[in-house]
Symmetry: C2
């Protein structure tokens, strides 16, 4: 048990536990939204099972990323707060860090590729963050962030491989547990989208504690199924750098060290879906649940709807992890046949 | 006080009260979803006020209509239940009645125009309801429903002008009151879409009881602003039959008798919006709230975003009342500039 209490240090790794997720939930209470779980009677009848959607698209900043960022930033010691925070991301993590830092009164700097779409730059700036551009072909974002951290005394907020970030994302799983217990429902399976794996690791910490029989699956885009292959081989595998996917939130090259330590303990396996399956899942969510999911946020839903995670006669909970999608991409999804 | 308790009979009208809404909420507990209230920090900053969205698009069947239908059908006496229910609607009320009847174990017949789009027919049938077609140019749907009621001993579930239907829709307002009280927030204004006026009447019963200073506005499409004109003239006005709108859920020709008795007591006025304003509000909701609203469900949001309901320095709650929109119409909305 370390200074935060409840964490287990595995060799050199600081791996968070269920208790860390509970503490994160206490920090986030009244600030993060307790997002609803959605169901469709008609879709359930067609699937022959019970599909429950944890709608994190309705979270502050449009994705679960706010939770981990807030939990990390809220625990920065008083003496280091004036230095602010620094992070690197062009997507949902950037907005999560910017919004959490603003709420907690810390300055934030986000390191972004110079070719980041203007809409993502302006969203991040709208939360009050400073944006530092870099050349993604010539510079290292981690090195730039480290320099800013050193120059300003800023604290780096990593996108996934940090015990407090993982514990924050785990509050999604804790809410699922609490909502299901209140309804008297025990899930057969739970699945969440995976890039570096912070979300599915955190969800696993909470779900495995209260529903030890539930099978927990990561969901990834085809070509970015590093966790699926890592779980099969038992060591961290990386993706082919030439791989491409419409799921722009899920392009991390390999699982994190800390996240993978949790995945190995709690996950039943990994599932991957095609871009077409993700787009069809988005069209289905529009039709049946009236929510906008971004491609990467829809991969766990797609894994169920495509039949890769079995649901017949079962209760399956999936996380719809983000909804920050351009109108043009969403229109492409609406042109597909829903499941 | 009549047999249901709490209702007030005004001349020949049976007008529901706040207590009827409370009783409806007790009947609906655990069956209707307590839908979330959504907010966007960035949109609030741009508006210079606090805009809160009651997301009834996330309700069972995709609209608030389930609430009123369930409250009405749940109170049918045992002796009349075997006759089932009959209603007339091609839209959200049809699905609300079909779903509520199925949950309560009653047969349902829905009278629909023979040119109803197949998707709406099949959605209604999927809930187990029988569909009876009629020729909208040669036959009266009310007369057909009355014949079915007489032949089968079925109970008619009216779309809005029924005290139990209004009280059921009022649970939307009761949830708004409870959610705002829990957060310590007092609204300056509340607005809901209006066709026959059941929703905004029910919401007014709940909101006026607990927040007497809040200004309550109906929102209607241009050309279907019968309630706005009725509130101005003091008597029920009707719409020009040649009027057209994309808001297919809001085409009732005039306010109901019972609903208007409530509107006159509690509403500060009516607001109307153009089709373009409704579509732009849908695009804004997609971008800022990650929800799909149908055109008619977006008119109260459009009334705020277009500046017709003032929000600067204020807290305004609006109901996004339904999300049953075809992909093609939604794509048209996404082509508009969001506010």
């Amino acid at each position: 048990v370390n200074a935060r209490g409840g964490s287990v240090t595995t060799a050199t790794l600081d791996v968070p536990t269920y208790d860390d997720v509970v503490r994160a939930a206490e920090r986030l209470a009244g600030t993060a939204s307790a997002t609803p779980i959605l169901e469709s009677t008609l879709l359930n009848e067609r699937l022959g099972g019970r599909l429950m959607i944890k709608a994190e698209v309705l979270q502050r900043t449009g994705s679960f990323k706010f939770r981990g960022a807030y939990n990390r930033i809220a625990t920065i010691p008083e003496a280091r707060r004036s230095g602010g925070v620094v992070s690197y991301s062009s997507g949902n993590h950037a907005q999560g860090v910017a919004a959490a830092a603003a709420l907690l009164g810390l300055k934030a700097t986000i390191v972004m590729p110079s070719d980041t779409p203007e809409i993502k730059v302006s969203s991040t700036r709208a939360f009050g963050a400073a944006v530092r551009f870099y050349d993604r072909y010539a510079e290292s974002r981690e090195r730039i962030a480290a320099e800013i951290a050193s120059d300003l005394g800023a604290t780096i907020v990593k996108p996934f491989d940090d015990p407090l970030v993982i514990a924050g994302q785990g509050t999604v799983g804790l809410e699922i547990v609490q909502q299901l217990l209140a309804w008297g429902i025990e899930p057969d399976a739970v699945s969440a989208p995976c890039s570096g794996g912070g979300l599915v690791a955190g969800v696993a910490l909470a779900v495995a504690q209260r529903f030890p029989k539930a099978r927990i699956y990561s969901a990834e885009p085809e070509g970015f199924d590093d966790l699926k292959r890592s779980l099969a081989s038992g060591r961290r595998e990386s993706n082919d750098p030439s791989a491409r996917s419409i799921c722009d939130a899920l392009l991390a090259p390999m699982p994190g060290e800390i996240t993978f330590a949790i995945h190995r303990l709690f996950l039943a396996g990994g599932v991957s879906v095609t871009d077409d399956e993700a787009l069809r899942a988005m069209a289905t969510a529009f039709r049946c649940f009236k929510i906008a999911i971004e491609p990467g946020g829809a991969v766990a839903l797609a894994a169920v709807l495509s039949g890769k995670i079995p649901i017949k006669g079962k209760t399956v909970v999936i996380v719809a992890s983000g909804g920050n999608v351009d109108a043009d991409v969403f229109k492409r999804a609406l042109d597909r046949a829903p499941y």
